[in-house]
Amino acid sequence: MTVRIPRVAGNILKALLPFCLLTATLLLLESREYLNPFWIRIIQLSCVVAVSALGLNLIYGFTGLFSLGHAAFYGVGAYTAALLMKGFVGAYGEESFLPAQAAFLGSLAAGGIAAALLACLVGLPTLRLTSDYLGIATLGFGVITKVLFDNADSFLPQLGGARGMTGIPRMTETPWVVAGLVAAILVARNLVHSTYGRALVAIREDEIAASTVGIDIFRYKVYGFTAGCAFAGVAGGLYAHLYTFLHPSNFDFLKSFDVLMIVVLGGLGNLSGTLVASFGWIFLLEGMRVLLPPEYIEFRWVIIPLLLIVTMLVRPQGLFGRREFPFLRGKVYR
């Protein structure tokens, strides 16, 4: 009789393996000082951005909902997680009933849940709008959220309002971001290739056809939107504890555009593209700080838009088009 590993355990192993490998590699590079802290930071930030971008890809790439308010949900997750974690550290300090890491996990989850709840609330009325109008409504929501963040100190002084929120413990280390990224990839991949994911793709392709085969279009739109925003919330929580400082201007509508550009550059409805584009985007953005001579540093934002325009002119369907990395493909669906 052969020993059979139960399926669940096997799946968990499959997920743990890339996590361990990636974390080990990064930690090794970090400890041997092959990479200086600057580049480690960039890699960590890339992972966080990738989680958020995967969320937007679920919303826009797979479900076809034009959302320009992604940074708002990112911000809600960031503020929620930071508030909880700060409260936790403040109340219990060193000797607490929970290890700080567990509390961090909890506040990340809370950030995701807060963003998802809000997405549900926002989505219920606005998802009846179509295409560009939905984009404007979510853009408006993004601006409103930023205004609320700016004025947040008038109802919750800990949030800091326009002066920014300080005193957030630094919790986000390499294992956390890698774990977040691996989890996001897994959830996104499995969601996309599930019945739910196919319903979402069907809605993107043709709403009327989707409804004739029995898909409750509105309900699935809310599902897709909520799921994508939950990603943003978790990414926001990671971000908050990576930089330990939150400012409303980090979550204004221009930041939503950044994520949108990543998703479109990588290719809509393409997980591999989003991953590559997230890393590429952050590396380009931050890497140019090092590569450009200091007196030309302002040219950073001149070069990036030009590259963006040229890429769009040459490959309007995104860098990856419809090709996916093998580990992101579904078993049947391609």
Binding site: T126, L129, D132, A137, I144, L260, M312, L313
Partner: protein, 278 residues
Amino acid sequence: MYALIALGYTMVYGIVRLINFAHGDVFMVGAFLALYAIERLGLPLPAVFVCAAAGCAALAVAIERLAYRPLRSAPKIAALITAIGVSLFLEYFTALHQVFGPNFYAFPRPFDVVSREFGGVTVTNIQGIIFLATLATLGGLQYVVYHTKVGRAMRAVSHDPVTAGLMGVNVNAVISFTFGLGAALAGVGGVLYGIAYPQINTFMGVMPGLKAFTAAVLGGIGSIPGAVLGALIMGQSETMTSAYLSSTYRDGIAFLILIAVLLVKPTGILGTARVEKV
């Protein structure tokens, strides 16, 4: 104020269904051109307006030709991302020290501010000029769009570009003309902005651009009177919020109104619903 920018948005969207995010930055370029025309060349005010409008029109036609036209048959989002790219490029390129520079610049007042009272309402001559200029452009646009040959061609292209092309309309020329006209209005808006708020920098186009676009959507995008109406509502709501609530909530309230209107009437106040055909 917003009305002039909103008109440009609504015209471009009406014809090519593209949210032209670079429009707010064309507006900024207009203000800077005017600044140069006044300070370096010492032109009189009417010539300044012509100069800014012409410069902006040329810029917009160039943008359309280089960045948007190759993407007209591509997915809409590609053009949208390109528009964002153009917008960022204009902002940061002009902020370089070699171009305009990143600082705030004082815009010279070409005439003195005079306030008058009309039945308890104080109106400065600048506000009067802006109001008259907006009315004049609104009238002019209505005339161009509904009573000239180009206007008829514009409406035809907006309705169905392929059929319009088959009927002998030069679609590319019409689209270029629309971009140019919209940008000329933005240029005039830029000069007026410079006169009204005499401080300009290269990022000044972002918020007015966004709000003008919101105004266009609020009034019903693609509709010319709608853009003006939407702009009036936006402007009023901002002023009222600043006056009665707190200026920090200003942007939020304006967008709250937008969302409320969109939920009740998704195509905007004066917009017409498009019939979905299967």
